[in-house]
């Protein structure tokens, strides 16, 4: 194939062993061309997470406002107006006493204002027709907080603030009106009790007694505190630092014996030290951001679940070499040991300058756990929580150590997609209205190694953080 020429032979001998190492973007472009763009799951999940959190918080806040605006009773004003007008018309029949009976609680101030002008005569006429010595209650009296009594023609008249409808009033007015209603009812009850024997009460004052019963039941329905819902929602953020622990049992049990067996008999055994003694790494700041829904199992115990985004980060200290060195990664599979070759400029031991590699992983977790209220004061308290977190690894930028402990190479292909973490924490809480602030330390531990089982060096991560959270109960 080649010309028999010394010059050409010289060129071939010199050039054929030359190597050059391409930039990372070359492989990325090739991979994209073959397999399409890597969908950045993180963006999708973060967007869904934020939209879900905003939607839920908006819905729950709207429900709270609706609760506050909901009236205590919903009487039909139109009906009561008709009743008042009908009563007014009927009052012209002087023999009828119902005009002076207790009006239904559904009559409002508007109705009263309309009837005021026409009722003064009715009252006078009515009194003329009532048996002397009896007591009537003038619910058509001008609005007043004072209950007055007077005797007109030997008929005791109690002028009391009429029982008004509560549905168009403010809370303050409603409270005042309820208090007045109670006073009126008390006065009416006294009148009924004073003027009639026990047996005759209902006969003599059927409408009064009937309306008293109705009014009592309505008054008893005061502005009692609404029953709290069993649900609450929580936002939290936890700045944290990630520590890692490495285990090289598989390397010592399987990889190194196989490598030693391949050496000549007289070759010295060069057993590397424990992996934790040869690597240098330091923790870096990561974060957990989450949204949770809490369900009150009891006063102190809550079930908690939600969505959480984790950013785990630590730094590896290494050296940069001027050339791309061959890094051998021995993998263990069902066929035995399989050696993968990577080329890397990062050397664990020597190089022309020191450098740091940033190991960063983005994860999405679904924490499922319990929260126990240890101490509960008026404002301050303390709770403890624990959860199990199935975790999905999203984008990653990790380096792994070659099995001879000499080089660091790209390890993204070997990272597990799913993992399990557990979390334990204690929080100091401060309650302000319906909002609970919390602050406290958290620990999160990763149970499965970061990389797949094929890679013999096991990495376990442990995060320490300080959680800041905001909890709102739903009413």
């Amino acid at each position: 194939m080649y010309q028999d020429d010394e010059f050409e032979q010289f060129l071939q001998d010199e050039v054929k062993q030359h190597r050059m190492y391409p930039s990372d973007h070359v492989w990325n472009n090739i991979r994209t061309e073959l397999h399409g763009y890597r969908s950045w799951h993180a963006l999708t999940f973060i967007s869904v997470f934020i939209i879900t959190a905003l939607t839920l918080s908006t819905v729950l806040s709207t429900q709270q406002q609706n609760v506050h605006l909901q009236p205590l009773s919903v009487p039909n004003v139109h009906t009561s107006q008709q009743q008042a007008i009908a009563a007014n018309h009927a009052a012209h029949e002087k023999s009828r006493q119902y005009f002076n009976t207790l009006a239904p609680s559904s009559i409002n101030t508007h109705t009263i204002a309309e009837l005021d002008a026409t009722n003064d005569d009715l009252l006078a006429n009515t009194i003329d027709n009532i048996t002397p010595g009896s007591t009537i209650i003038n619910t058509q009296a001008p609005k007043s907080s004072i209950i007055t009594t007077k005797n007109i023609n030997n008929v005791r008249v109690l002028n009391a603030t009429p029982i008004v409808s509560l549905n168009t009033m403010t809370v303050a007015e409603t409270t005042e009106a309820l208090n007045n209603n109670e006073a009126v009812l008390t006065a009416k009850e006294d009148a009924v009790n004073a003027d009639a024997t026990t047996e005759d009460k209902e006969e003599k004052y059927p409408l009064i007694t009937e309306n008293l019963k109705t009014a009592n039941s309505s008054v008893s329905k005061k502005l009692s505190p609404r029953k709290l819902s069993k649900f609450g929602f929580q936002f939290y953020i936890t700045p944290s630092t990630s520590y890692r622990r490495l285990s090289d049992e598989k390397v010592k049990d399987i990889i190194q014996p196989a490598a030693s067996a391949a050496l000549p008999v007289n070759a010295p055994l060069n057993q590397p030290a424990n992996v934790n003694e040869v690597v240098r790494h330091r923790p870096a700041v990561g974060m957990e951001i989450g949204f949770a829904v809490l369900y009150n199992i009891s006063d102190r115990l809550k079930l908690k679940t939600g969505l959480q985004l984790n950013i785990r980060h630590y730094q590896i200290e290494t050296f940069q070499s001027s050339t791309y060195d061959r890094a051998t990664i021995s993998l263990i599979n069902f066929n035995g040991i399989e050696n993968i070759t990577r080329y890397s400029p990062y050397n664990n031991n020597v190089g022309y300058k020191q450098t740091e590699l940033a190991n960063k992983v983005y994860q999405l977790s679904v924490p499922i756990g319990l929260q126990w209220q240890v101490l509960k004061g008026k404002h301050l308290g303390m709770n403890a929580e624990a959860s199990v977190q199935p975790t999905l690894n999203l984008n990653k930028n990790v380096y792994l150590l070659s099995t001879d402990y000499r080089h660091y190479a790209d390890g993204n292909d070997f990272v597990r997609k799913w993992n399990i973490n557990t979390n334990v924490g204690f929080n100091l809480t401060y309650t302000s209205g319906k909002t609970i602030w919390q602050l406290g330390p958290q620990i999160r531990y990763q149970h499965l190694p970061t990389f797949s089982n094929k890679y013999p060096i096991k990495e376990y991560l442990l995060d320490y953080g300080m959680r800041i959270g905001l909890t709102k109960a739903i009413q």
Binding site: M1, Y2, Q3, F7, E8, F10, L11, Q12, E14, V15, K16, Q17, H18, R19, M20, Y21, P22, S23, V26, W27, N29, I30, R31, E33, L34, H35, Y324, E338, N339, I340, T341, R342, Y343, D413
Partner: protein, 193 residues
């Protein structure tokens, strides 16, 4: 991974097998591309296009001959097509051009002799460089070179002769090789008599 396992994995479009194949052969192939390309960026573009073709056409590899040789042929053809597409070919230049080439020390790194030689090859005009690469280093015949570059076989021969002379001049000036000794045997024989 064995070569067969890599090929089997690539046939199934397995990303890990493709990555292994790339890691194993890309250093050598980039060196090939670098000899054809005017700069490193173009060399990486050629490499990228070449490997995409390797992965998409791997089903055509028939296990006849070395796998590396098959990849190399694809890469070389990709380099030629790249140069044609970007119109990098110049007309042939006179041999006197070699005397005007000033080899600066800093343009030819002294990392290793192989790299120096490659840099000297890259100093040649693109047409000379391509023919020299194809004939002297990749083993193509002048007939095959003529077909690939759409030139006559005789043109390929003359281009190669000029390229070789030019490269020798550069290498001698760089003191990578020594000037060939003159053949004075006839003078020695005359002196003896």
């Amino acid at each position: 991974m064995t070569e067969q396992a890599i090929i089997a994995g690539c046939l199934q479009n397995d990303a890990a097998a493709q990555r292994e194949l790339y890691n194993r052969f890309s250093p050598k192939m980039l060196s090939v591309c670098y000899r054809f390309a005017p700069n490193r960026e173009d060399a990486e573009d050629m490499l990228q296009e070449g490997f995409i073709k390797v992965f998409t056409q791997i089903h055509t590899f028939q296990n006849k001959g070395a796998f590396e040789g098959w990849i190399r042929r694809i890469i070389v053809h990709t380099c030629i097509n790249f140069l044609k597409k970007h119109k990098k070919f110049n007309e042939s230049l006179d041999i006197s051009y070699a005397n005007t080439v000033h080899v600066k020390e800093e343009t030819v790194p002294s990392i290793m002799q192989a790299r120096q030689i490659i840099e000297c090859i890259r100093l040649l005009p693109v047409g000379y460089r391509t023919v020299l690469n194809l004939y002297a280093l990749e083993g193509y015949s002048h007939k095959e070179i003529g077909i690939m570059l759409d030139i006559e076989e005789s043109t390929s021969r003359s281009q190669y002769t000029r390229a070789k002379a030019m490269l020798e001049t550069i290498l001698i000036r760089k003191k990578i090789i020594e000037a060939p000794k003159q053949d004075f045997q006839w003078l020695t024989a005359f002196n003896k008599t």
